[in-house]
Assembly symmetry: C2
Homo-oligomer: 362 residues x 2
């Protein structure tokens, strides 16, 4: 079974990737605290996988389970929801000897990780991602958090899981649209740091899209390994790590501008990557042929390639409150060729406007 060790000193943890591993107590139970266990999941994932996880934990000797099922969807990622989950843990008498398992997609991972980070100033948590996006993105990096009405992911903490269990079988029940959305982040790893992986993806896109197990395991393993390498060198996002936000400056603005939930996160990032590639080409960093390869793989994966039509000023305003902004200056991650990303605040506003104009819905 492919396995990856994320090396962060005392906060190191394993990522296990395999088929059917959600049913294996051996992989899960050694990472739990001695006390009670809470499973946080959403109503949709609960109907698919909660019974399996409950059964696995019971077989592993964990009888005292608290199941917290929240509504599915991005709106659940709020400070208010955080408070009510903490309330459920308190009512059940959970102390620091307990553990939280986050079973679900990125929303559950981000929310569950944040609850674990701040409940009684921190309890351990296990990440059990059930979407491709969560497997390749939220599994590595320790970013947890919730949205604020004024901005996505504006409240959060860096907090590492004790372990990540990525069972590719859970992807069988994932809607195609969500699966493709996850692929956007996979392409990203190739684009920012791994040209070989990007070339492999161009060649094997059909196998990936048809959900072939071996292809999926490679996709998850390589994505996590690429991300882990970047994160290990910059755990608290001082510099280098910002390249993981390739496509996210435009992407976040698209999500906020269109209202959370109109686009899936990966869809917004896909558009953002296309725009950032165009901006990179306009600034003479990226060749036109490379820009075309990027456009082509996004389009072939059935992902959107144009931003919703809105005044450019709106986009610029949203980008200025982005976490990456410094002193109101928008910071972009741009490409200096496929596999090499740079971080820059030095982008003429005119170029940004031209890119928005060129890639907006007609």
């Amino acid at each position: 079974m492919p396995s990856l060790h994320v090396d962060l000193g005392p906060r190191s943890y394993p990522i296990r990737i395999g088929s059917g591993i959600l049913h294996d107590p051996e992989l899960l139970v050694p990472h739990l605290n001695p006390g009670p266990v809470a499973i946080l999941t959403d109503s949709h994932v609960a109907s698919l996988h909660l019974a399996s996880l409950r059964e696995t934990l019971r077989r592993g000797g964990k009888e005292e389970l608290l199941e917290i099922v929240v509504p599915a969807g991005e709106n659940t990622k709020s400070l208010q929801q955080t408070g009510s989950i903490c309330g459920e843990l308190l009512k059940a008498g959970f102390g620091r000897d307990s553990t939280l398992c986050a079973l679900g997609g990125g929303v559950i991972g981000d929310l569950g990780g944040f609850v674990a980070a701040i409940y009684q100033r921190g309890i351990p948590f296990i990440q059990i991602p059930t979407t491709l996006l969560a497997m390749v993105d939220s599994s590595v990096g320790g970013k947890t958090g919730v949205n604020h009405p004024l901005g996505k992911n504006m409240i959060g903490a860096f907090y590492q899981p004790r372990a990540v269990i990525a069972d590719v079988d859970t992807l069988d029940t994932l809607p195609q649209r969500e699966f493709r959305s996850g692929l956007a982040e996979v392409f990203k790893y190739g684009l920012i740091s791994d040209p070989g992986f990007f070339a492999w993806l161009e060649e094997h896109l059909d196998e990936v899209l048809s959900g072939e197990t071996d292809a999926l395991m490679k996709v998850i393993l390589d994505s996590c390994a690429d991300k882990a390498e970047i994160v290990a060198r910059d755990e608290l996002e001082g510099g280098l790590r910002a390249i993981l936000n390739y496509g996210h400056t435009f992407g976040h603005a698209i999500e906020v501008a269109s209202g959370y939930g109109t686009y899936l996160h990966g869809e917004a990032v896909a558009i953002g990557m296309v725009l950032a590639a165009d901006l990179s080409r306009r600034l003479d960093l990226l060749r036109e042929s490379e820009q075309q390869r990027i456009y082509r793989i996004v389009e072939s994966a059935g992902l959107p390639t144009v931003a919703p039509r809105l005044p450019a000023d709106d986009y610029l305003r949203y980008m200025r409150v982005d976490k990456k902004a410094q002193g109101g200056q928008i910071r972009f991650i741009l490409l200096r060729g496929i596999g090499e990303a740079i971080i820059t605040g030095d982008v003429p506003e005119a170029a940004i406007r031209q890119t928005l104009q060129a890639f907006m819905e007609s």
Copy 2:
């Protein structure tokens, strides 16, 4: 000027203690990020010290200031307030290059530190305590957080300030009741780890109570040094650090049972220390003469020594949801003599009930 270096590797920071140092930009400005600065304070402290701090920051070249004034009092320490402060920072366009200064007592320090910990997953903050309690307790340890309706300090993070500026002159305007409340934590440091300091306090209590500057600086310096030594050995509260909770198991239960705000935190801790001393004596850990010294100093400082009358079952229930509880077992910090604390979960319920009975209001 007395100064202390809290040694936590990359998270180390200085504590400056002195008279009038709030007016010195040299102590403050070098610790600020290049971007804008927010001052978080409460309505009461704002009227006393906000103008001074604003003036000091301006003289230090910091013109771009956001002032956030929240209502005074423990109710302000909530997740809801956290969200609205984050909203103000977002509206003002604060990014990760900004800094938050928490100007006030323990509530402001805990709330401000928590906001700084989770706003955009962490921005630097400076602690400027204006109460004795905040100077001797919140300055060291990195504990930040807010209350949940179901329990005090149940939501939070470990997050270190960049610097602490403790200006003893701010204590001149502190109400006597609050000053005495802060003394409870000062006594605690002597009791759990520093018998020499405790003896000094017994001897110099009058100078301390009358606010003599040199006595105050010693009180703050020794308290912070004692706490820093304990924290440096156990930053994330794995074990030893729990001795800092001496008096807090009963104390928190008293605060919750009587409704937050009826007792000041230090008053509840003072009662808790008297009760924990009694419990220590009942379990043959502490001599009666030592128990009497503890009772005497608490009483001489004008602090309460008995718990409000409530069913013992209520107290026991509140203590079981305490963060220190493990698997429903209440953990106590007890004394094996003045200056030596132990942590134990092995306390017969009958003894706890006897202590409560002996030290309850008639």
